[in-house]
């Protein structure tokens, strides 16, 4: 904790960054993002297990960028997102200073993104056993049961797009749901609109999702929509040996192998 604050203060005072993006105590037991521009405010910075919002999301927000070069407090899921953002040309070494926080809450400094990529090698992206069991349970259902499950679970969705807004990789300036030539996805949050939105969102995350769960945490009505992305992440691993973001490896959906295996095309 002190490590983190000291580093933050040092960066701000030295002018290396104009702002430190980290976490502070929020309402009740919640934590939230804080943007520290004045070294005096540094004590507001905290980090603990409650700090799960993926702060990488702010790297693509115009108003934040306007404030100059930030230092970003980043746990492992956030680091993954940063690598994917770099792969997608949204950030580069000069865009930010990364204040990494290891799972045991130690501060890790990185001088560039490839150091982060190397660091992440020890945390290859994999779905937790618990999640695998949940997915397994769904996969064991009959198709009709799954259909029932998803239509019921997605029915309350009112398309506030908190899932999209909280996801660091949903940074498009115009989301496909906002494209009305043609209107790919109905704007209304009726059953079809909800269903198409969620299946499309999951497809857009294929080969990109880092399983940070920001989407599910953001949902105000608790829809477990990260099950869809978890399923995708698992498939990507199974089918194409994808094991998380990389600065160099091609995205599994924009490349192929002539011997890709599939069992349903005849």
């Amino acid at each position: 904790m002190d490590e983190l604050r000291n580093k933050a203060r040092e960066l701000l005072e030295s002018g290396a960054v104009q702002m430190v993006i980290g976490y502070e105590q929020g309402t009740g037991n919640k934590t939230r993002a804080v943007f520290v521009e004045d070294p005096v405010q540094v004590p507001r910075l905290i980090f603990d297990s409650r700090c799960v919002q993926n702060l990488a999301v702010y790297m693509t927000k115009a108003e934040v960028r306007k404030k100059g070069k930030p230092a970003l407090v980043a746990s492992v899921p956030v680091l993954r997102s940063l690598i994917q953002l770099a792969y997608e040309n949204q950030i580069h070494d000069e865009s930010l200073v990364v204040l990494g926080v290891s799972p045991d809450l130690k501060l890790i400094e990185f001088s560039n993104l490839s150091e982060i990529e190397n660091y992440l090698k020890q945390y290859t992206l994999e779905i937790s056993i618990r999640d695998k069991e949940i997915l397994q349970k769904l996969e064991n259902m009959s198709a009709d049961e799954r259909w029932q499950y998803w239509t019921t679970v997605l029915e309350p969705c009112f398309k506030c797009y908190a899932c999209r807004a909280a996801c660091p990789l949903c940074y498009c300036t115009q989301c496909t749901v906002e494209d009305n030539r043609p209107q790919w996805v109905p704007v209304a949050s009726h059953p079809l609109g909800n269903f198409e939105w969620h299946i499309m969102r999951a497809m857009h995350m294929a080969g990109r999702c880092t399983d940070c769960e920001a989407c599910a945490n953001a949902c105000p009505i608790g829809i477990p929509l990260n099950l869809l992305t978890k399923k995708i992440v698992m498939d990507m691993g199974k089918s194409f040996g994808d094991n998380g973001p990389s600065l160099t490896a091609r995205n599994p959906m924009s490349t192929f192998r002539p011997d890709d295996k599939e069992n349903f095309i005849n």
Binding site: N89, Q90, Y171, T173, Q174, T176, D179, R181, P182, W184
Partner: protein, 666 residues
């Protein structure tokens, strides 16, 4: 407001006989935005086309749907008609009522209903079409001809004589191909080499032709008019500039027992060799698989004796890259390995040979200097049997198709035999005699009537050896399948002609399609016999299907004419059906966020970075741009782009969406 004209073609009875065209026209007339709808006997006919042109003018149409045959057939026709009437050709679409409807369904309401749906889909699509201008791309006026047989030679010469550059490559040490192996040629019996070798020499000396033998296509990229070919020149292990072709090395090479490919294994050659005396270029190569130096590490005799020190043991393969505007495929064919006919005993009995081997025996330059002597003991066979259709027209064990040339060369072989062995007896087992062609039937009759060749209609069941004779068992189906048994001294199998090994890999390199037998597919069996589906790549000779010399030569000239036509312009117009990254007003400029994941999906490296800057030159954002010269319009990037920032002319999001909507809702 759209004013669409719909023109429904009866195609005589082809569509009209199955689909109620009049009803289709009537129904479609009721659709929103349809200003004119009419059916007519033959839309592609002159009156049909003028019907369309007239309507475009009088009804001020903003779009046209022609419901007729496949767009792959007549789309260009009708688009031209539209532009002649002043309507942008890309505002014209076709509904496929023939191949996809009337020809595949019985006459019924359901069929007419389907026809209506198909037309409605295209009406809705065409509402979303917009005017497009053709794309101009420069043409590199150099042709790459792959394969130096008679097909490649003829094509090269015709293109070169038209004043264009040609690069001719052949994987063998010499050009000439199968024709150079032949003795005489039907139906005139003139000597193959006598007519071929002058052409070979002409190729070698032609100022517009660059010849690379012992060379293969490594890879090719680009598109019509703008290919980049990488060619692997295999190491010949000699310095061609120094080599005078004196042949000293060949006479001195200690390794003389290698079965010669040119003589189909009936003769031998040395490790450093020229395939045959009239080879072009007439300079040797070292066959590294058989050369003692490369296999055992010592020898280098040729090096010692070479008067010009031209031997280069350390020579390596060389890759050269050449820009070409067109490619002619002339890779030829091969004969089916006879191993699959054990009952004919090929390989088991030395005197059972293939037609191609017989050509070598009959050839004056062959191992027997033109005398028909059997391989086993060099005796002149007194009784010889020719088996036609050895593998051809045999779906069970061989290949279903007819190899086309066997009937004629078998007759020729029998004739040559009779001319050389006057007291000999020759028999031909055949299924049918296919002698369609100028002077062909006469030729076969001559063999039978003047040269007394015995034709037996029936198949050979078995060939086996019995005290020095080859017993040929068969049946004569004209004498109600009476068993026939002939004691022969030699048997010649007219083995099937099949695609060259490696033809499929080559097709994949060039992205041309090939049929189930590995022969390259022409773009259209009748109307585009020398084109492939890939623009700028043409076909000639037996790589497309087995064919004889006259047919090959005419096809080669046809391909050459196509290439010359392509090269007749400095620029060629390409269909503007390509991908485009959207652009919009500030502050957005484009919905593209510049993730450039599309770039890796593009098979043509057509996606570039474009920096959008303000007046002060400050970078606002970097977005994708599609290079219209490189984009071939596959649309992979379009389906891949998450924000739908890339769209495709002719198959746009709105068009495809409209089609699906229209298809499921009337």
């Amino acid at each position: 407001m759209a004013r669409i004209g719909v023109f429904i073609c009866h195609c005589g009875e082809n569509i009209g006989g199955t689909v109620d065209c009049e009803k289709v026209a009537r129904t479609v007339a009721g659709y929103d935005g349809v200003a004119y709808s009419i059916d007519y006997k033959y839309m592609c006919s002159d009156p049909g086309q003028s019907l369309i042109k007239q309507a475009i003018k009088e009804k001020e149409l903003t779009g046209v749907v022609v419901a007729a045959c496949s767009p792959r057939m007549h789309e260009p026709t009708f688009r031209r008609a539209c532009s002649e009437a002043g309507l942008n050709p890309y505002l014209c679409e076709m509904a496929n009522l023939r191949e996809h409807c009337s020809w595949v369904h019985e006459k019924s309401d359901a069929t007419t209903e389907k026809a209506i749906d198909l037309v409605r889909m295209l009406v809705e699509k065409v509402k979303k079409n917009h005017a497009l201008q053709t794309i101009k791309v420069p043409v590199t006026k150099t042709a790459l001809v792959i394969g130096g047989g008679i097909a490649g030679i003829q094509a090269s010469l015709d293109i070169a004589n038209a004043g264009h550059q040609v690069v001719l490559i052949d994987r063998e040490p010499s050009i000439g191909g199968h024709m150079s192996q032949l003795s005489e040629t039907f139906p005139t019996l003139d000597c193959s080499q006598c007519i071929l070798t002058p052409r070979m020499v002409e190729v070698a000396q032609h100022p517009n032709i660059t010849l690379y033998t012992y060379a293969e296509l490594e890879s090719i990229e680009g598109f019509i008019g703008n290919f980049k070919a990488r060619i692997r020149k295999k190491a010949k292990s000699i310095d061609e500039k120094l080599c005078t072709g004196c042949g000293m090395c060949i006479t001195k090479c200690p390794n003389k027992k290698i079965p010669g490919e040119f003589n189909e294994g009936l003769g031998t050659r040395t490790a450093i060799y020229v395939p045959f005396p009239q080879a072009v270029p007439n300079k040797p190569v070292i066959d590294r698989l058989n050369c003692t130096y490369y296999t055992k590490g010592k020898c280098r005799v040729c090096e010692k004796f070479c008067p010009t020190q031209a031997i280069r043991f350390d020579q390596e393969d060389e890759i050269i890259e050449i820009p070409v505007g067109a490619v002619v495929l002339a890779t030829g064919f091969t004969v089916k390995d006879t191993g699959f006919f054990p009952e004919y005993g090929y390989g088991k009995y030395r005197d059972v040979i293939t037609g191609l081997q017989f050509e070598r025996l009959a050839s004056a330059s062959g191992p027997t200097f033109g005398e028909i002597r059997r391989p086993s003991d060099g005796k002149i066979p007194q009784k010889i049997v020719f088996v036609a259709c050895a593998g051809s027209r045999d779906p069970a064990k061989g290949i279903p198709y007819c190899s086309k040339i066997c009937c004629m060369y078998t007759a020729k072989h029998a004739m040559l035999y009779q001319h050389k062995v006057h007291d000999g007896e020759s028999y031909v087992f055949y299924m049918d005699i296919r002698a369609a062609g100028k002077m062909y039937e006469e030729f076969v009759r001559r063999a039978i009537e003047e040269d007394g060749v015995n034709y037996i209609r029936g198949r050979v069941s078995r060939i086996y050896e019995k005290n020095g004779k080859l017993i040929v068992k068969g049946a004569d189906t004209l004498l109600n399948a009476m068993p026939v048994e002939i004691e022969a001294d030699m048997v010649v199998l007219a083995t099937a002609g099949v695609a060259n090994e490696g033809s499929e890999e080559l097709a994949q390199k060039l992205h041309v399609s090939y049929d189930e037998y590995g022969f390259f597919s022409e773009a259209h069996p009748k109307l585009k016999p020398v084109e492939t589906n890939t623009a700028g790549i043409f076909l000639t000779g037996a790589c497309q299907a087995p064919k004889d010399i006259p047919e090959t030569v005419s096809q080669a000239s046809a391909a050459a004419a196509k290439v010359a036509g392509l090269f007749s312009k400095d620029e060629l117009s390409r269909e503007p059906l390509i991908a485009v990254v959207n652009r919009s007003a500030p502050p957005l400029y484009s919905t593209c966020v510049g993730c450039f994941m599309c770039a890796t999906a593009c098979p043509y490296q057509a996606i570039e970075h474009e920096e959008i800057r303000d007046r002060k030159g400050q970078l606002i954002k970097t977005v994708a741009r599609v290079n219209p010269g490189l984009c071939q319009g596959c649309g992979t990037c379009v389906a891949f782009c998450r924000s739908k920032s890339i769209d495709m002319e002719g198959y746009s999001h709105e068009q495809m969406y409209a089609e699906v909507m229209a298809l499921l809702n009337d």
